[in-house]
């Protein structure tokens, strides 16, 4: 099973069209393997992006250097997945 250890989901809110343009540029960089959970639309609207652990530093530096505001929405995707698995197992035992 693919793991998502250390992957984060960032909530990014571009302030203006220039920042939207910067994010569009980021979106086209295939090597970053960004997974846009909530798509990029216009300035002022939130974008949710899952970023692999290995690309986190590069993306954060990009955002900070362009002064694009962001916050961490999910600290570690794998932690949530492990919890999801545990909950499924718990409920399965309960059903039996």
């Amino acid at each position: 099973q693919k793991t998502f250890i250390g992957d984060q989901v960032l909530e990014i809110t571009p302030r203006n069209e220039e920042q939207v343009k910067n994010l569009r540029q980021l979106e086209t960089e295939a090597h970053l393997q960004l997974d846009f959970w909530r798509p990029l639309r216009t300035a002022g609207e939130k974008v949710h992006v899952r970023i692999p652990f290995s690309r986190l530093q590069a993306v954060k530096i990009f955002l900070e250097s362009h002064d694009i505001p962001y916050s961490i929405m999910i600290e570690d995707v794998q932690v949530l997945l492990d919890k999801e698995n545990e909950e499924m197992l718990f409920h399965r035992r309960k059903e039996r």
Binding site: W37, R38, R41, R50, M73, I74, E84, H91
Partner: protein, 305 residues
């Protein structure tokens, strides 16, 4: 009576088993039919709710995007609700005395299994494309509605890859064939997650549909009903203006095909979990969605065309 827990996520086998259980538990109302096979030869199973005869029908589907697990879970809860409400809830009873309901809880079974066993973040089908190492097509970019246009990708490695041709995905074609052969589908509602939206056509173009006013009014009423239970707020509008331009989507095809009441739900994520909505939010999500679904279905029932 099967002891099935609607408040958790389940594997495909467990979902199929529960569909059989529902058909067994309500033999005069519920039956299971297979409308095709997925790319990896899994059955595409639909629940039919019918009080007999061939009536005009409402179509509901969920999980065309594999990782949106709360939509599958909501669909299954909804199936149980429809069955148990018939004969008790006057609104559902009147609906099923007038119309049939078809419900497809797992539209993309290969993707769903893959999301359980290999990659929880999988969205697409699992079809292979000659000449590409990448697998899968976004089945909600594969319908014959502005196919290949803006908001879909021609890169097989993209999560929004539209596929080699419209209806190339057997999961899509099976539904298209079913809708065409049935001939009396009057509403088509698809469940996605997660950004609390209730949308109607169009997505492949940014012009309003000829039924904009009516669809908007119904959607507003439905969204208010959703909010009434737990305060979850929904945004309402055409796909193009409230998400982005997206070509090849299911409800655009159904609408252009003549199914006026075509809607897409993006279910809740009030807690910022995205596609990883905790299991304790499944039941509230299903319950509130049901309020909205009922409003749409009642409108369809009361406004034949």
């Amino acid at each position: 009576s099967s002891g099935f827990d609607f408040g958790t996520y389940h594997t495909l086998e467990e979902i199929f088993q529960e569909m059989d259980n529902l058909a067994e538990q309500y033999p005069d109302l519920v039956s299971k039919l297979q409308i095709g096979y997925s790319f990896e030869k899994r059955p595409i199973n639909v629940l039919k709710f019918s009080t007999g005869g061939n009536k005009p029908a409402i179509w509901l589907d969920a999980g065309i995007h594999a990782r949106e697990w709360v939509s599958h879970a909501t669909a299954l809860w909804t199936a149980n609700q429809i069955a148990s409400d018939y004969g008790k809830d006057p609104s559902i009873t009147a609906l099923l005395d007038t119309m049939d309901i078809f419900l497809l809880p797992v539209t993309n079974p290969d993707g769903y299994v893959f999301s359980h066993t290999e990659n929880r973040m999988w969205r697409k089908t699992r079809s292979t494309i000659s000449g590409s190492l990448c697998v899968g097509v976004d089945p909600n970019r594969n319908w014959d509605a502005g196919f290949g246009g803006p908001g879909s990708s021609d890169n097989p490695c993209s999560d929004s890859y539209h596929g080699p041709s419209a209806n190339s995905e057997v999961e899509v074609k099976s539904i298209v064939d079913f809708v065409k052969s049935h001939g009396e589908i009057k509403a088509f509602i698809t469940l996605h997650s997660y950004s609390q939206l209730l949308m109607y056509p169009y997505g492949y173009k940014c012009t309003v549909s000829k039924d904009f006013n009516e669809l908007n009014e119904v959607a507003q009423i439905a969204a208010e009903a959703v909010t009434s239970l737990y305060g979850t707020t929904y945004e309402v509008g055409p796909i193009c203006s409230i998400i982005y331009q997206a070509s090849g989507g299911s409800i655009d095809w159904t609408y252009d095909y003549g199914i006026k009441y075509s809607f897409a739900f993006e279910l809740r994520d009030t807690g910022h979990y995205g596609f990883l909505l905790p299991v304790n939010q499944i039941l509230p999500t299903a319950e509130e969605t049901w309020q909205g679904l009922k409003k749409i279905m009642e409108h369809v029932r009361d406004n034949p065309y």
